[in-house]
């Protein structure tokens, strides 16, 4: 996505650490390592935002609608 700024927002309180998003991301943008949320889950965070190509696979696979993607 040349020039277009892609922003991934992961809702730490909704994330249950299932790691589906991490697995399907083609650019290794995401990984575990966030703070432990209210439910004791160490949530996923955006490790390499600049690598993101905005394909949306992470959000498609998230069972908890914790990932929001915006661009522009």
């Amino acid at each position: 996505m040349d020039g277009k700024k892609i922003k991934i927002r992961i809702d730490a309180e909704r994330c249950k650490g299932c790691m589906f998003c991490v697995k399907v991301c083609p650019k290794k943008v995401l990984d575990k390592g966030g703070k432990v949320n209210e439910r004791g889950v160490q949530c996923v965070i955006v490790k390499a935002p600049e690598e993101c190509i905005g394909c949306g696979l992470c959000a498609i696979m998230c069972p908890d609608s914790a990932i929001e993607i915006s661009s522009g």
Partner: protein
């Protein structure tokens, strides 16, 4: 900043009670995406089952009732006959549909009720603690098949979809999965086609979705997705089991997406 992906409008902001990696949350969202794209949330009356998804009405922002265990297709029949122009779908697990509700699902299909059925096949009874279900695979250990499921003792994993193929009333039957983005996309188009079948008043349609239950498969979420790929779909092959309506498209055919409001700007409602 333009939103490219967010929670569907017809899904509430409530955080689900489902376990980490459970397929229900995913399937709930897919259904809501289809309902948003068809712009029919105001016409939907859903029937939730008894099982993990009994609390679905906390996550769906459309009218929902709850059936006695297994009687979901009968309740949906009553609703649809009274409200033929509403969109009525049942959401059922393998215990609800393929065990106690076997008679109801077969006769609803045989009557050709113009409803859509979403059948989540995760191979166990989740809500009650991981017991064996009619769809438990041979060799699978569960709370009530502790020596694994054996054909001569516990019988075979039942293939409801293939059984229903012979019913003329069932016009569209497809089995999909959610274990990869490609499969999630296929699940969405199958559900879209099932809803379009109903909107086109063509008769009974059902989508069986292979779904992970990490907790009671005794695996991590990622391992359970792998198990689907390596084991489950060998017994429950994916794809169309019956499609008498090729013209019924599986892409959005009518309605348009209304401009989206921001995520969760509505306060999550508590449901008593």
């Amino acid at each position: 900043m333009k939103k490219m992906f967010e929670k569907p409008r017809s899904m509430t902001c409530a955080r689900t009670h489902y376990c980490s990696g459970c397929g229900h949350g995913l399937i709930h969202r897919i259904i809501c995406e289809v309902i948003d794209e068809l712009d029919i949330a105001g016409r939907v009356v859903a029937v939730a089952p008894v099982g993990c998804a009994v609390l679905a009405y906390d996550y769906w922002d459309f009218d929902t009732t709850e059936a006695a265990h297994g009687r979901t297709p009968a309740v949906a029949t009553g609703i649809k006959r009274v409200l033929p122009d509403n969109v009525v779908f049942t959401y059922q697990g393998d215990g609800d549909l393929a065990a106690i509700g076997t008679a109801e699902i077969i006769h609803a299909a045989n009557r050709g009720e113009n409803i859509s059925v979403i059948f989540v096949n995760n191979g166990v009874y989740g809500m009650t603690g991981g017991q064996m279900a009619p769809t438990t695979l041979l060799g699978q250990t569960t709370a009530t098949s502790q020596f694994t499921r054996r054909a001569d003792k516990e019988g075979f994993p039942i293939k409801i979809l293939e059984m229903m193929k012979v019913l003329p009333g069932a016009v569209y039957l497809e089995r999909t999965s959610v274990h990869s983005p490609k499969e999630v996309a296929k699940t969405k188009s199958a559900i879209m086609k099932s809803f379009n079948t109903q909107l086109g008043k063509k008769g009974f349609s059902m989508v069986e979705i292979i779904s992970p239950c990490p907790t009671y498969w005794g695996m991590t979420p990622l391992e359970s997705m792998e198990r689907i790929e390596k084991e489950v779909i060998k017994v429950y092959p994916l794809g169309s089991v019956k499609d008498t309506l090729p013209q019924m498209s599986s892409s959005r055919t009518r309605g348009s997406i209304k401009p989206r409001n921001t995520i969760c700007d509505r306060s999550p409602r508590s449901r008593g």
